[in-house]
Symmetry: C2
Subunit: 335 residues, 2 copies
Amino acid sequence: MATIKDVAKLAGVSTGTVDRILHKRGRFSADTAERVYAAVKELGYEPNLLARNLSISQTCRLAVLIPYPEQDSSYWALPKAGMDEALAALSPYGVSLEYFHFDRYDRASCREAVKRALEFECDGMIMSPLRNEDFSCLFREKQVPFIFIDTDIRDSDRIAYVGQDSRSGGVLAAKLMNLLAAGREDHFLILAPETENYHLTERIAGFRSGVDREAVLLTTGIEAFHDRGEFYASLDGVIHEGLGGIYVVDASAHYVADYLTEKDLLSVPLIGFDLVDENRKGVLSGAIDFILTQQPREQGFQAVRLLYRCLMLGENNPGDLILASQIITKENLPD
Amino acid sequence: MATIKDVAKLAGVSTGTVDRILHKRGRFSADTAERVYAAVKELGYEPNLLARNLSISQTCRLAVLIPYPEQDSSYWALPKAGMDEALAALSPYGVSLEYFHFDRYDRASCREAVKRALEFECDGMIMSPLRNEDFSCLFREKQVPFIFIDTDIRDSDRIAYVGQDSRSGGVLAAKLMNLLAAGREDHFLILAPETENYHLTERIAGFRSGVDREAVLLTTGIEAFHDRGEFYASLDGVIHEGLGGIYVVDASAHYVADYLTEKDLLSVPLIGFDLVDENRKGVLSGAIDFILTQQPREQGFQAVRLLYRCLMLGENNPGDLILASQIITKENLPD
DNA sequence: GATTTATGCGTGAACGGTAACGCATTAAGG
DNA sequence: CCTTAATGCGTTACCGTTCACGCATAAATC
């Protein structure tokens, strides 16, 4: 491996000059630059990243702006786990993460988190811009590279988006539902929370495009009720033994699983999203037939790696990363 | 972050002494050692890996011993791709891979590859010990740490195994097959190559334990025939319109997919393993309903990472890594 | 008591790259 | 012609660890 000294010797200059030329800083003449570039090319010189990072004592402070891990049935613990895993791998190389959590359903909390993130000095940022209106100031004012995770905003100058293909998730759910419901007569039921959300809309649209029968939408998530009993009551009218199947577009399939268990309706097919702990139990018990995941853990993992590569290794056009849907069922439930 | 200098200062010695004590080399007294350990503990000192690796110019040469990428319908290209990806991430830190490929169905080729690997100087080794008898000499003689991928041998002193849970893969296939065959009358057909193999046996056993009807085993892979026509002829007797479904336990489902396409039998359910290119085409065309994968790419990726962590970062009991089965179908086919 | 051997520890030069600093040389300005 | 500024480049001190070398001091030997 050629070092900067080899380049310097071949170009007939000192290492300092090579360094300045390669970083286009300070002063140098055009023809020495040319000699240096020629030497770099001839020797195939690649800077040693160990030495570089050691020398500049570069630390890569990343700010992460996502909801509280407990929110959405602890969904947000999953990308966080992935980020922590990536951190473990990269911390020897000076990467550190600082989390700024917020309550995604509370405007004040969002603004507060954004405010703190704005004040935090960092080299890069990973966030879920769940509320465009609250976050946009951040990625306009803050002069650091950032990438979006889970939710995208196209017309921002994010350097990348790591997320899911929610429509194909819906189509996949439809395929599985068709299979599960073979021999069942009645229509399908789609359960969705009231909150407007791109992914949920897409999951519904995808499902509708793929099913072999009518699908009735009920937009009342459990959050709309004070207690579980009230929620159960609302289901009484729409869920019955002959139903083709139930499709829950967010992470709250486990509530429905509990309902089906209590009412002895386990034969009704149930498909949900996101492998949070409660859903895992539902899958194990057999109340949930399939859980689709969009690899949130992997999203977190890749987001950190991507940003690290851009900041520390100088990669510049990473491209978006759309992770495929995964099918989880009792037989392939990971530990 | 505390450095070795801080430790030295607090312990009242020089950095050289700290270094010798922490590495238990050279000469030092018991009580200075104690002071140094106390200082390390108090400051929470962790050696800077950048500096360490730079200083010792450590390179981590890994030897990889797997079949030719093209074998088994190009199955082996998948773990290789994962390893190459991990390499890309780790090459800045001095990791290099050297592949030793062999023809897994040819004894001479195996021995030849093992011989070359034995001669190769490396710091660690990743291999698929597909033929215990040919490989055992290697992991007895060679004095480097090694990990097994894809296939395990328990009573070897491998530092880890990265692989699949093939039985649960079979059980999962059974579940999907039951769903696909709802409403179909006839029995299932299991297609397996003649070669004896732990994973294949397990996949069959798992499938048998999960299906809701009889499953007939036909042990003649396409390798047993001179040409495709001959293979097709052998299928003519056993595949027919009313068949419950076909389960191919290795990567050659695409051959069956071609057969079903040609004979206009696309309604017969077909499940296979491994997302090799040809199977991908079969899924896209609709001839293959489900492909199960055991994440071979991920296996390769993780194997390299694991070995790197053990060798360079001094992790010592990594534990085995059993990757879950994944379900691939037309709707979630990754790009 | 002088000489040898053993023991504990400090020193300093790497590893490869970075970046502040400052010395020559040349060009511009009076 | 002298001063001043601008330009190009070399020097040097790091970053945190490793490790060979060698200097003290103490212990063992005669």
